[in-house]
Symmetry: C5
Subunit: 309 residues, 5 copies
């Protein structure tokens, strides 16, 4: 399969990486219905770790089965599927080679009492990713948390090993903890800062939440206002995030948060597309719908990212 | 010995594992009077570590001798015997090959003053398990404890090494510490969450306590009530736990807690059987009875799991 | 030198160990005037670390010289000599092969301010033991201390390495710290619990203090009273400790504490002998007496353990 | 390219180093418009990590692109370019061999809540520096911070590895935290102490801020006053810093802090030149100006260091 | 060069050590004007780390240059020169083989806010000592500090590695922190205890401060008074320290503290000589004098240690 011009252009931005890592990025970009477009939709299923199986899957019981998610991602023509060790392993043989997979290396859970020092446990190794045939590792950082520096150092080690072994590195950058308020977690300046740090830490793909137009940091608020950085529309904000990720040299995908109506999900995707973002990483809005509804919604998102909607 | 269809089906769920690990799971499933049924009874003897030798064995003094437990498990036709390093080693040569053994890797004790950060000491290594001829390692996690993340990371390392060396991994998942109340430790939602995390962490076999119908977490209580998840009977709750462990793709065994009457123990086993659970892990209710009473009770449990009771 | 029947029986209990470790146990049991009896007297000299040289040796100044202790242990016909790195090394060449030596791996000191978290520094390595020709390592644990879990994990690593290299492992089990009171440190239930944990941790030889008839733990007190465990006499208590160490499958030696009169020391030994204990580990009551008094006392103790007194 | 006499003299001071490390120091000294003069101007771009992309680059948007900085440093004829992992990697292939690069190994950020224990995360490895073709690593220490000892130990390990692999080591020595006041961070005695410690820690090149004539430490104030150490002018203070760095045996470069007018920047450089300093490390005053203004200013600085201004 | 009888006797006390370590001890004892006498004068220059360059060297500015100290130690005929990594490296090539050097492995500084947990940063590695041609490593412990156990464990590792590689180990034992008062830091019982622990930790050479006749510890005070240990004169106290260091089996050198008059320095040396101590380790009283004054004073000290004064 020849890479498209668009994918070659994207790969050319990853100057510092091994061919193995680039090949895995290429596989994700050349898989599914968005193959070759430079756009991506990824299915992440770590809600069970975050909130428990019942809170995640009782609304759609077939989703208790790890195979369900593999099938959904494959059948909907997505680019990749991400999950923690146990559930990824539970289908790794059945679906070997059927879709690029991302091993989520660390996870938090809602029994944790950590707030200002919000952290995650590292629950898998890079060699787990290799033996399960994954193309990338996923790692969450909490910029602003009092555990942030330790997380960055964990990421450094996992990233170094993953890249040396030809895997790609996807960073979930979610500002949280420390002096960051609930509103600040979604503030455009804070998310843009977190995305920039992920890029500086060597992330190949960066995942952030769609930001609001709130400015969460007093010092940066002055700059945003003085320099009149456009942040009024969602597309503006996506564009700004892309700029903060090495002026568009890094793939950035956006998550939409809690389950919501189809229209809201589609509007988000349109803004991401308009702002030059690379796509969606969409979990609860997939597996917490009945399968056929999820398939339909994903089809509509694919159309958006193909520029047909 | 040809594996039964039931055992082959169970093994097929362990997609991500080495043949060595599967072989050790198969050995446990093909040993003793429940051989081939997919059901298991395991004898765990770590009460001495938890509460001291006298509190554990004075009621039945022959049990001070580590050989006693090996013989009991073998003579009763159980599937496996689990114990900490010192006592397992004390019979490892005499009973070599006579029954699958599980090296309990970590242990707490009642002199510890840790409460919210309840933890255990890791007292053995994977290579100890190999040199003693064990088929599996056992590891306790305390979901909810402020030490939880560190425990998960210890488990990650031990599990990675154990599986790479062909051993199976059995996780004791006991919610405790942090903001979990005494009642919450047995709440069905909390235990189901802990069991799900054990599965996500890569456990091959999951051990939990039989839950009550209490709901311990405000957020999940809403979901359990809204979705009308059946938790009224013990069998319902066992069935729910199995669902939370990858929809039945993982072996789950249940412990019954403190010493109690024969009838109560048998009723528990009937509920586990009815709910589709894989069996019992039963310590104090074995070795704190005179040997012949224990043998009789274990015979009755075996009948339950054979569907004869 | 052919092993006696008694020594062969003792060694047979060490099922899980390498021949190298058994050989070192055998050497200790076959050395000195108690050779072959299954009884042992060990000279431990770590008081200098615990309290300083002057507090330890000013009462008997020749004892400032590390050679003094080697000579005393050899001339008195003891089974082994234990000391920290520096002082053991100071005579290791002169007395090479003259008596089995035990490298004390960790030490506390009286300048430390730790109380509830009482701990020791690990001051030597297993390879030090090998290069100095030692037959065993010695390690202190403080069951009950808030540092207990970390100590158990240090012991796990040192023990694993020592046994892999053919050395024996001797554990000083001294309950202390956490919620343990001064009286509780000597309580028979607490010491028995600490001894049992040492056995579970894989100790080959266990060293405890002679317990009082106090019961230090509310929960275990109930059991001791209910089950009428005999603890009235010192011999009863020694017998109970032996039972808690795998029903006599482990060598247990007892220390007598601060310097005291000859009669008291001899009475202790008689009780240890009567209760089936393996012997004495006796420091201050040796080196804080003039050499000829110490020689005489040790001769009397040897007679006790030979059953002649 | 033959080394100049001046550069050979400088290299001769690095007695303890490998030829590989000296070669990399030589490359920096023999690159750009100051080649062979023993003077250096380095472009450091880690402001994005410290304050976010928008606060760093919105004033001059082309600077969002990592290539911008490489080009600026090359076109202006500077000696080296320093940046964190992600942004350095983003141009490492395009600009391979075009200018010596310095991988900044650790970074702080303005979301951190650490004050007295101010610290940085180590975000790259020495092997990253090698695979990206860097000639040196850069590492920040905060003398005075409660995290200082841990930082020194991180530097020890990274420095040892970097030098063993033929790289040079550049230390950013920025007193901060602990009992150091805001005014004290720039005090000449405190900065001189921090520079001296960097030299003792084995730094090949030392980067400090230009100090004020404030004396921040009571004990050293007495000595400075008693011994009448000249600190009145900026050139005096630079001269004192050089003396504190092994009497001029180490390369020291000075940073100028926040963006300011051209004249102020040039006056700083004249003082550094007059005081015998080795040059400037100048970030915000480069990339926060439009490119042509930055080019002009850098040209003027080069003239200063050539002794033409 | 044949070893003298006195040096051979000293070396014979180092039973546990490799020939490489003994050779390095021999080199120190056979160097300089005290060659072969069993006495030593060592020049230590770590004051720059402790207090900054200006506080250390402004009183005698040539001392800013690391070469100054090498030359002083060589020209005065001292036995060895000790310094931290950076300054030792700065002359390691020029003075290769000219005098035995000691790499000071850890250092504190006066910006640190640690008091009860007083500690030092480990700033060099054993391999640094080898590549720089050193004959020994130097390491400071703070007996009594809440960081003491961690320091002992660092020393264990560095000492093990250093000795395995044929280097000698010199321990600076300076009681400090925890519950030790300022007066207690110099108390003879406390310093004697610290010296004894250094010996137990495996130190080849022990460096302590000259003690006062104060008794700093309540428990040991009783023993010193009861046993009438002679501590009235400085020579008495030196003799007691030697006794506490394995009854004279270890080399002990004494430091004199802050800069003071020539007579006071000479009186100290006379007391050390009279008490059987091995010599002086003298820093500020050397390099804070003009070179010719220092040379004269060192000449007088050498005469004292030759028994000529």
């Amino acid at each position: 399969m020849n890479l498209t011009r668009r994918v070659r252009d994207i790969l050319a931005c990853y100057e510092g990486e091994n061919p193995g890592t680039k090949a895995n990025l290429a596989r994700m970009l050349m898989t599914g219905k968005l193959s070759g477009t430079g756009k991506m939709i990824i299915l992440p299923v770590d809600q069970g770790f975050e909130h428990g199986a019942a809170r995640s899957f009782a609304v759609n019981p077939p989703a208790y089965d790890p195979h369900y998610h593999y099938k959904l991602a494959i059948d909907a023509g997505l680019n990749a599927y991400a999950a923690p060790l146990g559930s990824l392993a539970a289908g790794a043989d059945t679906f070997a080679g059927a879709i690029p997979t991302i091993l989520k290396m660390n996870s938090a859970n809602s029994l944790s009492t950590m707030v200002k020092d919000a952290d995650q446990a590292v629950t898998a190794s890079v060699d787990d990713a290799l033996r399960l045939g994954c193309g990338a590792i996923g790692f969450t950082i909490y910029p602003g948390s009092d555990s942030m520096f330790a997380q960055y150092e964990e990421l450094r080690e996992l990233s170094r090993e993953a890249k040396a072994k030809g895997l790609a590195v996807i960073v979930w950058s979610y500002p949280r903890g420390g002096e960051i308020t609930k509103e600040g977690e979604l503030a455009v300046d804070v998310i843009a800062y977190g995305a920039h740090m992920a890029a500086l830490l060597g992330a190949n793909v960066i995942k952030v939440k769609l930001p609001t137009d709130h400015l969460g940091n007093k010092e940066s608020k002055k700059v945003y206002e003085e320099k009149k950085i456009p942040i009024a529309t969602q597309a503006d904000r996506v564009r700004h995030i892309m700029q903060c990720c090495f002026d568009g040299r890094r793939i950035v995908v956006f998550s939409g948060g809690a389950a919501k109506g189809d229209n809201a999900v589609i509007e988000d995707a349109k803004a991401i597309f308009a702002g030059g973002g690379n796509g969606s990483i969409i979990g609860r809005n997939c597996f917490q719908r009945p399968r056929e509804d999820a398939m339909k919604l994903l089809g509509q998102l694919i159309d958006v990212y193909k520029g047909k909607a």
